[in-house]
């Protein structure tokens, strides 16, 4: 199983780091105002928005290679959440697009979103 690449510093994320838990529920509302709610996800799914700045060329190349090897959101990999050190063994990229900007030598930036898969 592939693993999300780390930066040269060993870090995966930089500040500001966004971590979300996503649930999905259905809510049915009846004419008398009563509601019936039920969950669709058995448990919340984690999501991380990884904003990276001041990357050097080798770090960007590693992320680009990772995106290609994953074929966008198709592949799955292990992601380590550095907030708590927990490993999530079944994650994917959220999008089929990887965009980055080279603003100068060792001054590249990009944003990636990683989501936990169900099943």
């Amino acid at each position: 199983m592939a693993a999300f690449p780390t930066l040269k510093t060993g870090a995966v994320m930089q500040y500001p780091a966004t971590r979300a838990a996503r649930s999905r529920n259905q809510v049915l509302r009846y004419v008398d105002g009563a509601e019936q709610r039920y969950r669709e996800y058995a448990a919340p799914l984690k999501e991380w928005i990884i904003r990276l700045d001041l990357l050097d060329e080798s770090e960007v190349a590693a992320l680009e290679e990772f995106f290609q090897s994953e074929k966008g959101q198709y592949g799955s990999f292990t992601f380590t959440d550095q907030a708590d050190g927990a490993q999530y063994p079944n994650c994917s990229l959220e999008e089929d697009e990887f965009a980055f900007e080279l603003r100068g030598e060792m001054r590249s930036r990009t944003t990636l979103t990683v989501r936990e898969n169900r099943g």
């Binding site: 669709e40 995106f67 290609q68 074929k71 697009e97 080279l102 603003r103 099943g119």
Partner: protein
């Protein structure tokens, strides 16, 4: 050869450069969150957004004439990615992309200057000087920077080679125990549509090398590892049918370009 031109300064892109890789995945998501996915490999695309500033009249004319010759998005051309390494398999020197005599032995998994184990040892066990080189289908008349880190246990010499049929540029450097980044920069005055980059090692010598990189510019930038694809895109096209050029002062112009290619 139809190739996106270099500027007079020997570069084919200016900062900032924006690059986008696009994949396509068919996703069927069940109510419970389980996803069934199918990758559509053939739909992968890559896009560059290039901003040029401070162009001279000559540079503006060259880009504008090239855009006109391509008729906007209609025709395809070769594009050398200014943000990538033009060599394939930059860390797998025993791959078939690298041409070498079998008496030039490659040993991988050697410690490199980045603190990992991705360098290679090149050992020439023959009685003659040997080369390891790779052909790049790119115009010989462009400026290129070919770079490599090198070291050896004992003082050795390593030749950096750029060649076309009938002409060779070699820069020989002294190599010692410390890692040193070596660069061969320059262009041929020739219309050849491919050229070779490589290393030349004397008989009976061994040198450790890492991070072979060729770039369409005068100086070496940060190293980019490559695998099966390099930064040469032979079927690129402009992303728009319109080219707007802004003239800010005499002999000073700016423009934006979008170039796309299948990945």
């Amino acid at each position: 050869m139809l190739v996106f031109p270099q500027l007079a300064t020997g570069v084919s892109g200016q900062f900032p450069i924006r690059k986008r890789r696009l994949a396509r995945t068919v996703v069927n998501e069940a109510a419970g969150g389980h996803r069934v996915k199918l990758a559509d490999d053939a739909a992968a695309m890559i896009e560059w957004q290039l901003r040029f500033e401070g162009l001279t009249d000559g540079e503006r004319d060259e880009i504008a004439q090239f855009f006109t010759a391509m008729e906007g998005r209609l025709k395809s051309f070769t594009f050398l990615d200014p943000a990538d390494n033009l060599l394939k398999w930059s860390e797998k020197l025993d791959d078939a992309a690298w041409e070498r005599n079998v008496l030039l032995q490659v040993t991988g998994g050697i410690g490199d200057p980045l603190g990992t184990q991705r360098a290679s040892r090149l050992s020439n066990i023959s009685g003659a000087t040997l080369r390891i080189e790779q052909t790049v289908n790119a115009p010989a008349w462009f400026h290129y920077a070919f770079s490599v880190w090198a070291r050896s246990d004992a003082p050795e010499q390593l030749g950096l080679v750029r060649s076309i049929t009938g002409s060779t540029h070699v820069a020989t450097h002294d190599v010692g125990p410390g890692w040193k980044r070596l660069v061969l920069s320059g262009a041929f005055s020739d219309t050849a549509e491919s050229l070779k980059f490589g290393l030349e090692i004397e008989a009976g010598r061994a040198v450790e090398v890492f991070g072979l990189q060729a770039e369409p510019q005068l100086g070496a930038s940060g190293y980019k590892k490559t695998v099966s694809r390099s930064g040469v895109y032979p079927q690129a096209r402009f992303g728009d049918d319109e080219l707007d050029v802004t003239t800010e002062a005499p002999d000073r112009h700016s423009l934006n370009l979008r170039i796309v290619s299948r990945a």
